[in-house]
Subunit: 494 residues, 2 copies
Amino acid sequence: MLALKHVPIRSFNENIAYIHKDCSIYKVSNINSLTRIEIHGGEAPVFAFLQIVDNNKFVRPDELGLNTEAFKQMGLPEGAEVTLTLTPPAPSLAAVRRKIAGNVLSSDDYASIVDDISKHRYSNMDIASFLVAMNSFITPNEILDLAEALRGDKIIDWGTEEIVADYYCMDDIPGNKVDLIIAPIVAAYGLPMPKIISSSSTSGSGLIDTMRTLANIDVDTRNLKKQVLEKRGAIVNAEKVEICEAERIIAKIEKQNGLSTMECGIASLLANKLASGITHLLIDIPVGIRAKIKTSAEATHLRKLIEYVGDRLGLYIDVTITDGSEPIGAGVGPALEARDIIKVLKNKEDAPDDLREKALFMAGRILEFDSKLRGGQGYLVAKELLRSGKAFDAFDMILKAQGKIESPKLGHLTRDVVAEKDGTIVRINTAFIAKAALLAGAGQYAGAGIDLYRKTGDSVSAGDILYRIYSCNQNDFAFVTSMIESGKTGFDIE
Amino acid sequence: MLALKHVPIRSFNENIAYIHKDCSIYKVSNINSLTRIEIHGGEAPVFAFLQIVDNNKFVRPDELGLNTEAFKQMGLPEGAEVTLTLTPPAPSLAAVRRKIAGNVLSSDDYASIVDDISKHRYSNMDIASFLVAMNSFITPNEILDLAEALRGDKIIDWGTEEIVADYYCMDDIPGNKVDLIIAPIVAAYGLPMPKIISSSSTSGSGLIDTMRTLANIDVDTRNLKKQVLEKRGAIVNAEKVEICEAERIIAKIEKQNGLSTMECGIASLLANKLASGITHLLIDIPVGIRAKIKTSAEATHLRKLIEYVGDRLGLYIDVTITDGSEPIGAGVGPALEARDIIKVLKNKEDAPDDLREKALFMAGRILEFDSKLRGGQGYLVAKELLRSGKAFDAFDMILKAQGKIESPKLGHLTRDVVAEKDGTIVRINTAFIAKAALLAGAGQYAGAGIDLYRKTGDSVSAGDILYRIYSCNQNDFAFVTSMIESGKTGFDIE
């Protein structure tokens, strides 16, 4: 018996057990650090990987230390008596090896892999290996099997609602936060739309960061259900909603290691939507030379794959292919994007046209999920809900329900980037703008980002402002200005 | 500035930095746990991955904790002032992504990947991803580039020695520890043979475990050189010899995750031999239905690949293909194998014939690396060195130089497994015997293992002992006896 001890370290997904080098019960010399153990004494055994401690200050020889993740799972107080047994690698790792060797796996294989991941039996290395193996080869049926496995058993039940709608964009186009306009329009119409969003790693800032500047987003499943049933909408952090646990673990490792592929992304997406209880899903595939999907052919391939898997999962899916070659809206960065959204919802004169039009188009298609609506009426109905202020009211109700917060200030360090000559803007490099926003600090500070003054097609004179940079600290500001000072602006003027 | 603190945790390869959640300098809210940092203040920056500590007892807000690995690399005392900067993922990870996408990498790519790994800039996940990507596709030229990169700059210099020989077996055949007979024969002849061995994970026990029952094996590079130049032989632990640092890191992850392939194994092997200063290498490829290499065709493919890469690396390589279908010798397990080796070296009547013959054959081929020896004389010279006791004397000298130790006792829990009928043994299942030895505890306890009383071709009567099981504790003994009690013995009698 060892006494349980909480070692207050937050690791990255993995359960870690800390054992003293002179442990009174287990011979450390026979243990290497990737030894997997099973800890008994709680309701269910908890799996963990061992690390060795050389000093009594942290863990004594008669103690077993657990990091925060593992300690929580154990569900016992400090000092509780526990035993440990060595445990072999998770049985489903044999299936991962077969995948690495280039084989097609069965639905049972995917089910047991996902089950073992959700029980923390996979090391992060195991998960990365699984992802890389799937990266190199996966069939449409495997994507289906993976999606079903990832969905899991916890599914949000929306009772008698016939349509539970959502919108999802397959890429991070700078500034494109139409979700935050679509959701209130759909809510104002009366269709329930629970938006459960995860953090993104590719663009300067994600939907989650923009929403965080407007309201609290940490809402648990119970409050999410209550709010959506009452207010018809919610925009919340996926971290707090207890669905798709294995998918969350995998997604973190995918993002951190750049191991995501479109194919596995589809499985994750559809699993999440199914577990959220979504019945009708509008998927937006932006195509552009600097976007993830570069050609119509790729987009069509992806559309067919989504339809194939979605149909078999029983989801009603509408896929739309859009222009992903330009930023959407004016602001790129949390507070700037939030400002644009409020401008659109308040019908302000200077609200960005492209942002409003894209949102109305998408909201219209979602409204047409309702069989009571006459075909082709969705866009007009959406437009009227926006014009009348009903969409703004719905948004305000959602923000208040979640806990509205004061908008953060824009960064105090600014720099204007101007046109170097007279002419017409023929192209804006979205990757350049996304990188500039990231360097300016948009991923870290809500007030940082890029505010676009001009769009493609505009005529400019030398010296006209193309965009303004906002940063919240000197470090970020130095990074982004050195990028600009190399002579490039990201705008092609001819 | 943060004050350096040693957190006495031994992790698994990775450098880990522990930062308090209310760190006085860096905003933890902007950090996720796979954030990579560079720590400044020592001679060279040290890379580490961050974990967050929620409690002052371990690390205070004005401190930066480092695990044992990272603290050593830092080379500063506790309390020293250090700064940290966030650092992007290692640049060579872009090449890993290209490999994942199925591309051929250049020699520069491999050089920078290996360099970053040796500087601890790769997470274990990054390394696993790299391995899985190589598993799915690698060209012979890439194996060559990988081997050259893994060799590194630290190469043991054997001065004026013209031949520095070694023997390497590509598989773990139960009981096959011929290395420990070959080495003293070659030493007695006068050729230098520095055996630098790593731990194995597949068989019940490895060469390193057997040698550890006879002598100290933890010898550093300086003493290794001295010993080999004086005594012509050494059998030491690779962990203590400072060569191929990146390969060691990779090999651990390969073994722990079962990600090794023959192709990458060749790169690792040849890199290690080059860095050890080996000039002439005899490679043994055992073929057998239960072995890693199952057919002659596979063995021939492997042989050609080894010759292709070896030739271009400037190594003199002799490849021999042997029978890997049966255990070699009688004992399977550290102390039992050591007993067999001493029997052979002491010319005992009951020494296993197959072990002696295989060792003489291999030693003979190595002696023929010496151009002064007449072709075909190697085997006879080896046999005479063994018969005369000179090989035993050479072994004893090597053991004494490293620090001879008392042989461990055999396990006190024993069980005899007997023939169930009269007949002739037509086959011994090597995988069964290896697994039985492993369950008996041979991987953990030197005295545990399987002692084979009979070999293929022997006639037996019902009730004759086929083998005896030795275990050192009740747990292991219960495991192995339950395997036997299922009715199987691993022996086919017809």
